[in-house]
Symmetry: C2
Subunit: 425 residues, 2 copies
Amino acid sequence: MLGCGVVGTEVVRLLTQQADDLAARVGAPLELVGVAVRNVDAPRDPVVDRALLTADADELVTRADIVVELMGGEEPARNLLLRAIEHGASVVTANKALLAQDGPTLYRAADEAGVDVYYEAAVAGAIPIVRPIRESLTGDKIRRVLGIVNGTTNYVLDRMATDGLELEDAVKEAQGLGYAEADPTADVEGYDAAAKAAILASLAFHTRVHLDDVYREGITSVTASDVAWAARTGHAVKLLAIAEATDDGVSVRVHPALVPLDHPLAGVRGAFNAVFVEAEAAGELMFYGRGAGGAPTASAVLGDVVSAARHRVLGGKSPEESTYADLPLLPHASALTRYQVRLVVDDRPGVLAQVASTFAGQGVSIESVRQVPDGDRADVGTGGSAELLLTTHVAPEAALASTTRAARDLAPVREVTSVLRVEGV
Amino acid sequence: MLGCGVVGTEVVRLLTQQADDLAARVGAPLELVGVAVRNVDAPRDPVVDRALLTADADELVTRADIVVELMGGEEPARNLLLRAIEHGASVVTANKALLAQDGPTLYRAADEAGVDVYYEAAVAGAIPIVRPIRESLTGDKIRRVLGIVNGTTNYVLDRMATDGLELEDAVKEAQGLGYAEADPTADVEGYDAAAKAAILASLAFHTRVHLDDVYREGITSVTASDVAWAARTGHAVKLLAIAEATDDGVSVRVHPALVPLDHPLAGVRGAFNAVFVEAEAAGELMFYGRGAGGAPTASAVLGDVVSAARHRVLGGKSPEESTYADLPLLPHASALTRYQVRLVVDDRPGVLAQVASTFAGQGVSIESVRQVPDGDRADVGTGGSAELLLTTHVAPEAALASTTRAARDLAPVREVTSVLRVEGV
């Protein structure tokens, strides 16, 4: 491993904590043979074994089957990766700057050496986008890619929209939360997004796109009033990385844009990223997730490491459907979930208490009760009946089922109108 | 190819129309050697070469390198695929029923024969989900998968929410639009979603999950009043396929559920599908797109065909970054887009006409003009000034830039407040 910052530390953590799973997925154990860092004496997370640290990256890359580059920047990353490839190693990199500047040199070298170059983490962090474009959509024709690929600017624009903040205040807030660097230029001026746009365009259109080919405009000219007006006309302001193929050729650009509120990209909030792809046969696709951060980026890096390792171990045999984990399947009765229950009851004092104690008696606690105003049902509110809406805390299916039965048998309960589970909270 | 219905016809179309691209992506041409159908004399789309039709599927599977199964159902699909594997063919299938019933038999057979089984189209149509789970997330630990994997029921629930329709009316409408079968049982009772849930759970947790292991509840008990109440309590009703791993084991279920409106799944409208994945390191991911339909499903099938073919041709060498297309890169000035322009102008008759003709003079036509009510800017509305919001039709960047310059020079134009592009429409 080259470099051991936030992402590198998380990669080491996953390699260590999930060693057994990874070995099962690869078909052989993954051994971390060394970590090249600038300063071997700097303080580190205890998960990093100091005995593996070395300042001699040139030597390290000659004795690994897979080299993971997390240093960033063009040099020495570029030369180290080329040297690793020469020595027959497959390489995994999250280095968008390098790929946008000189990716083809790496790809050619790897091609000649018959090794792999993986870089899922370089485009949108944890979001799988390189594989879907390279493999899943390879039988299709991609027309357009619209990406929210910079979490910092998306967070800033989001805050401008939700609280009417001006850009600089939103940036200060983002800096305070660690979403933005002390020097936010690379993000707010769109340099980060431009590098990702170049990589996405190269992938989507099988065409060499260099960082310098990307038209770039940052968000610094966007005002709170622009964002407010966008909302009034049914739009959200997003910094988009756009790669488009027309009959004449390819256009690649990064700039702020108004996106209709009913477009899936408009709903991408905070520091999340998303890549929206329009393909001829597949139609509209969107890939959503965390585009940055130690653990999310490490997840993408590990996915690449496992692919590279499998490739060396299985010689490219596609991973079979390994069912090695073979976890026990739980009966539905034990599934935990929350419920919303509607009841029609006699409208008199004490009924709610009676219902609540029935639920409690079955070990199901109620989070909230709300009296449904009449009018929703013709018969409710008349004949001294009322409708109650109960939301429970998490409980096992079995308890809920017995609770519902018990509630039905309660004298003052005229009807259990509906029982619906609540998920995704 | 086995079977030639809606999806099969689109697969043939893509194989034909994109033959050159596909050959470039595989490294060798793809030749369709035969199409097994029940009735060779039935009417077909002209894209299907009748000379390739055969009723003898048993014979066909013995003379192909890749067998694409689109017949659906357990038999004869199962035996034909096993026979194809015995004869050394890699197989691509969209058959969720077969995989949910007896996938492991196929995987084992393919494993022993050293060939591949691909089935991206079996889970969520065009949405790449199998590859991301099998490869991109293979270094991570998946905790939970929540999927909207049936477009028919999602459309029905969506219509119940938007227009307050009762279930049966929404189903009738879906049938009229071709989103639902004459017999909608497989969709509304959740059988289709349950099969997909079994496949997703097996993939996510490396555990054998059979269709019978999936708890299933359809949407038939969901009423318009349930959906209305869900909205009032800040939820959308969705039919979810849920696969969860707890410390005790795996729970797999399909049932309608209330999803908070701010959850990404709540925004999945109409016949679209989405799979939401929670992984330990990656965090929240969502994959969105068309889960059914001829062309979208064919796109996923072709992606698998290319992967299988590459594997045979390159012997598993991962596809290099081929830049064979090498399309020309267009100058930014020629990029086409729409604009929203805000101007502060003298508030007197004729100004709007003057501005409009300036735009027209540069070949930029105006789609809409709206007078911004004052109050937004202290100086507007006072001193006889007004603010205009113009939205243009699509125009090249160059024209827009010159238009903006020309507008600035107009006497009655006091200021061009902002110029923002509109994308995603």
